[in-house]
């Protein structure tokens, strides 16, 4: 899949999911309908371009659209 197309799919796909701002890697791979390794290349680029950002509890990692969600607002402020 082309990067731009993947980006569009992810941004749209994640905005559609109401009430949730953090997602597992698997959720993103599903939206892209790609195997994990291929999906990872695309998603890593979205992190580099700051379309997406990581969230970590320490034990688990999640992904979100940059700047979305309560936590992002709270942390940005500080």
């Amino acid at each position: 899949m082309e990067y731009e197309e993947a980006k569009e799919k992810i941004v749209e796909g994640l905005k559609k999911k109401k009430g949730k701002t953090k997602f597992y890697f698997n959720d993103l791979a599903k939206i892209l309908d790609e195997k994990p390794r291929a999906a990872k290349k695309l998603i890593t680029k979205m992190i580099e371009e700051q379309v997406l950002e990581y969230w970590s509890s320490g034990s688990t990692s999640l992904y979100g659209l940059k700047g979305y969600g309560k936590q992002a607002q709270a942390e940005e402020k500080e």
């Binding site: 597992y24 890697f25 970590s56 509890s57 990692s61 709270a74 500080e78």
Partner: protein, 437 residues
């Protein structure tokens, strides 16, 4: 005078063991005095507030730490764990209290200079409190603020020549025993393999895309000093496939009392004269040893390399010469379904650079787990859910009796049609001739 009264914490200092409370108080005091005139980059009283918030938690029986965060260093999804206090007015010193995990050196070999540099950096830009080491093996820096993260990362990578470790759903910082650097039991160079895989799998270490955490641990022999068999999703345990080398003269020196058993480790008390029958032969888990007429015999085909006899008589018994490692998979701590030890997957593999054979196994497992693993499912849980047979299929490994814990531990082997000579097709009329309905 302490900033907060901490009667509950103070009680923890009264026991016989060293107390983390005393350690934090000492650091608080040293920061308050600041004899070296450090320009602290985070609040000077961070340690006082840490004690304060912990005391409050003990009093109320609830935590005041918020769970997780988006903070990190650019491009890395692991290594930094965001921690915020939910009582920042009362305890401003720990309003931000992020953890940083730093990759420990191989075998945990430090120079005093490196240790000092680490501590100086952490005094200057963090709380000064460390955990050496976390259970994965990392150097853990406890407590700093968001603006310090990139600064510390820069200093670590540019001047201390060290990287952050793993956290979250990625490959965790691989850890290894001291291995051939100091230990004669090491069956392979743990540090070389650990370093090579750490470098090769940088992407897996820093950019989380696994269902959950994944740990590599490297033990040079079955003594398992880094507990790989109990804690790693993939345990690499040194072993040999020829015979234990026996020096009969030295065996008799142990029997005669000239050599101290266990290299003198239990000499603090008089246990009486060494009794080879009781202390070695009878404790061999496979009953494969015999001592008769001053001669020790080992039936090596039955030996499981448990290390017991070698540990007791290291001068007399040595690991074999044809060495390699075993790969075991699926250990984990008890979050779901209780703790699990790892399961034998590759009984013996030679350890030779560039380790391609080992990497093939690793990558086949990752492909399977990344596709089939549920969110927050460890490899060991996926193995239970889909079965060892599935794991053998994805890794292309042949079943082997050594993978079975005991006879009938897993009798549910399902055959596929292509594996059965002649297939499954049968003539029902022919069958009925012999079997009534």
């Amino acid at each position: 005078m302490a900033k907060h009264k901490t009667p509950l914490l103070d009680q923890l200092e009264t026991g016989p063991w060293p107390s983390f409370v005393s350690d934090i108080k000492r650091e608080a005091e040293s920061r308050a005095k600041n004899e070296r005139n450090i320009e602290y980059q985070i609040p000077q009283d961070v340690c006082e507030d840490l004690l304060g918030v912990l005391e409050l938690s003990f009093k109320q029986g609830r935590t005041h730490w918020k769970h997780g965060g988006i903070v990190g260093v650019f491009g890395y999804g692991g290594g930094v764990i965001g921690r915020y206090c939910d009582q920042p007015e009362q305890f401003p010193g720990v309003a931000h209290f992020h953890t940083m995990r730093v990759n420990q050196p191989g075998g945990k070999f430090y120079t005093t200079k490196f240790l000092k540099d680490l501590c100086d950096l952490w005094e200057f830009r963090g709380s000064g409190i460390t955990n050496m080491h976390g259970s994965t093996g990392d150097i853990v820096f406890l407590g700093t603020t968001t603006p310090q993260l990139e600064e510390i990362f820069y200093e670590l990578t540019h001047n201390l020549n060290q990287d952050l470790g793993g956290s979250g759903s990625n490959l965790r910082t691989p850890s290894d025993c001291i291995g051939q650097a100091r230990c004669e039991y090491a069956c392979y160079d743990t540090q070389a393999l650990c370093y090579n895989l750490t470098q090769d799998y940088q992407d897996e270490l820093h950019r989380p895309a696994f269902p959950y955490k994944f740990k590599f641990k490297f033990d040079g022999c079955p003594n398992c000093c880094v507990a790989s068999i109990a804690r790693a999703d993939m345990s690499y345990i040194g072993t040999w496939r020829d015979d234990i080398r026996i020096d009969q003269k030295a065996v008799n020196a142990y029997v005669g009392g000239e050599l101290a058993p266990n290299a003198g480790a239990h000499s603090g008390r008089d246990w009486g004269p060494f009794d080879i029958q009781k202390e070695v032969i009878n404790l061999c888990p496979t009953n494969c040893m015999r001592y008769e007429d001053g001669k020790l015999d080992i039936n090596n085909r039955e030996c499981t390399r448990c290390m017991h006899c070698i540990n007791v008589m290291p001068r007399a018994l040595r690991i074999g010469n044809d060495r390699g490692l075993s790969i075991l998979v699926g250990a984990k701590a008890p979050i779901l379904n209780g703790a699990q030890m790892s399961t034998m997957l590759v009984p013996f593999i030679k350890v030779e650079e560039p380790y391609d054979e080992i990497k093939e196994v690793i990558e086949a497992i990752w492909d399977w787990w990344m596709e089939e693993g549920k969110n927050r499912e460890r490899l060991g849980e996926l193995m239970k859910r889909q079965g060892l047979q599935k794991l053998l299929e994805v890794t292309g490994l042949k079943p082997d009796a050594r993978m079975v814990q005991e006879p009938r531990a897993n009798p549910y082997i399902f055959w596929k049609e292509e594996e059965v000579e002649g297939g499954f097709e049968r003539d029902i009329n022919e069958f009925r001739k012999y079997h009534q309905r």
